[in-house]
């Protein structure tokens, strides 16, 4: 598929499309933890890192098939997501955020000293198995399952926890279980995104998954509108393209990026799609139906 597309699309644009796809998967994972369930996670890159390294080592050392490397990467990340979810039993808000930051930093330092991971030099020569076709397929699957989850019984209880924990408990929601579940699913997608990233970039280093990467993913979720799938997708698209568009301003790129974040928050404090309600759209549609 990629070879076919390459005839029509400039490889540079194809590359941006692939990165957008990977970021959508990563951001949708974080959206479940932070956007939907309201548990501020500032260490999503840690899960990405675990997925990337696990899958890369499996590919390089054990010549594992691509799908197996992806799955293992995602599962290892999910396991750590499960572990990180457990402190949420006791911690709230910014204390939890600190634990997630600490976790991601520990993961980074671990890989900096991890012999099979190439230490600070990282790993190179990872087979470039991630193609546009595969990313597109996975993005569609992830969006589909995500949408199913969020409008299910479990998804509703996640939103309920974000809105009011005490009331959610009074409705019989086992808060602890749902929070751990949200972390685990978020981490699974983080690991999947990381594994795709590793098999696209050819080359990974610990600092690819540093604090700034976590923050960029968080930006995508908040910018688009917390808890909204279309919002998160839009956030991922904009924040992947923005740095590319800002290349014309060369070294001033990040200066504009920073200013852009401030301005967006001042003028759209609830995120780009935070005020656009699917309910409103549905209501309008329902009314029309009634009228007709």
């Amino acid at each position: 598929m990629d070879a076919f597309l390459m005839q029509y699309i400039d490889p540079y644009y194809l590359r941006i499309l692939v990165l957008i796809g990977i970021n959508i998967i990563l951001a949708l994972g974080l959206n479940i933890t932070t956007g939907v369930t309201g548990q501020l996670s500032m260490g999503h890159a840690g899960f990405m890192s675990l997925g990337a390294y696990t899958s890369a080592i499996l590919s390089l050392q054990f010549a594992a098939p691509f799908w197996a490397a992806l799955l293992c990467g995602a599962l290892v990340a999910a396991f750590f997501g499960f572990l990180i979810g457990i402190p949420t039993l006791r911690l709230e808000g910014d204390y939890l955020a600190m634990v997630t930051i600490g976790f991601a930093e520990i993961v980074r330092v671990f890989f900096l000293n991890f012999e099979p991971g190439g230490k600070a030099v990282g790993l190179s020569g990872i087979p470039q198995n991630t193609t546009f076709g595969i990313v597109l397929l996975l993005v569609i699957i992830v969006i589909f399952f995500n949408a199913r989850l969020l409008k299910s019984r479990l998804g509703r209880s996640m939103y309920a926890i974000r809105e009011n924990e005490i009331a959610a408990e009074a409705c019989g929601v086992n808060i602890t279980r749902i929070k751990v579940l949200a972390f685990t699913i978020g981490a699974f997608l983080g690991g999947l995104g990381g594994a795709l990233y590793a098999h696209y970039m050819f080359f990974i280093r610990p600092q690819d998954f540093a604090f700034m990467q976590s923050i960029e993913l968080l930006n995508m979720v908040i910018l688009g509108g917390m808890g909204s799938i279309p919002g998160t997708i839009l956030g991922a698209i904009i924040l992947t393209i923005a740095p590319e568009l800002l290349r014309i301003v060369a070294e001033y790129r990040l200066l504009f990026y920073g200013a852009l974040l401030v301005l967006l928050m001042i003028f759209r404090p609830n995120g780009l799609l935070g005020d656009v309600r699917i309910y409103d759209l549905r209501k309008r549609w329902m009314n029309k139906e009634v009228g007709a």
């Binding site: 399952f145 199913r148 989850l149 299910s152 019984r153 479990l154 998804g155 509703r156 209880s157 939103y159 309920a160 809105e163 009011n164 005490i166 009331a167 959610a168 408990e169 009074a170 409705c171 019989g172 929601v173 086992n174 808060i175 579940l181 699913i185 309600r277 309910y279 409103d280 549905r282 209501k283 329902m286």
Partner: protein, 252 residues
Amino acid sequence: MLELKHISQEFGGLRALDEVNLIVNEGQIYGLIGPNGAGKTTLFNIITGIYQPTEGGVYFQGQKIDGNPPHQVARMGIGRTFQNIRLFAKLSVLDNVRVGSHAVTQAGLFGSILGLPVVRREEKQILHKSQTLLEMVGLQDKRWEYAENLSYGEQRRLEIARALALQPTLLLLDEPAAGMNATEKQELMSLIYYIQKEMKLTILLVEHDMNLVMSICERIAVLDYGRKIADGSPEQIKNDERVIQSYLGAPA
């Protein structure tokens, strides 16, 4: 059906409840009254497992339930509303009620994302039941609104619908009429009557509006400074010396 035995609750040396005993029988509408700070809401929080009583025990259908976390208490069939309304503000009215049915539904992760027939059937039932409840409290037309956009009285009714979605056998209402006007209160009273009859519920309610309490409750307990100073029928309470002295005030 619900029995509180010698409940005491201390907050850092402050005794909020002192040796409170209470028996609510099946099918009763039971009123709990008393001045602000008497410990009424604290008692609700103890029954629903938010607080663990310092002393004493809570028995529900003969079973000791204190020490269970709130979600388990809810699953045993105790639904509640909150004095300072706790809705899921940024969820639709319908979704608020749907969350309410969490305890009596099963769908798990894989069933949900795969959209298994069992799960779909359950979703249909949840939707149907939620709409019936919304119809009953008169909010069916507002089901796509955000909960936060409802009026005060509507929010109180939505909380009742959400609590009913749990299919409770015991319903705790914390000041359900607070902030309502006379018409709304009338409607609320008939609603409480209706759900009690229709769903064979036992209801324990905290309320300041004496008219409402006296006219719908079969039995009333009075709390004052954490102690129960009286309980009995509305007539008995109206004529109880201590109650008149400390709460109702001298008759005009």
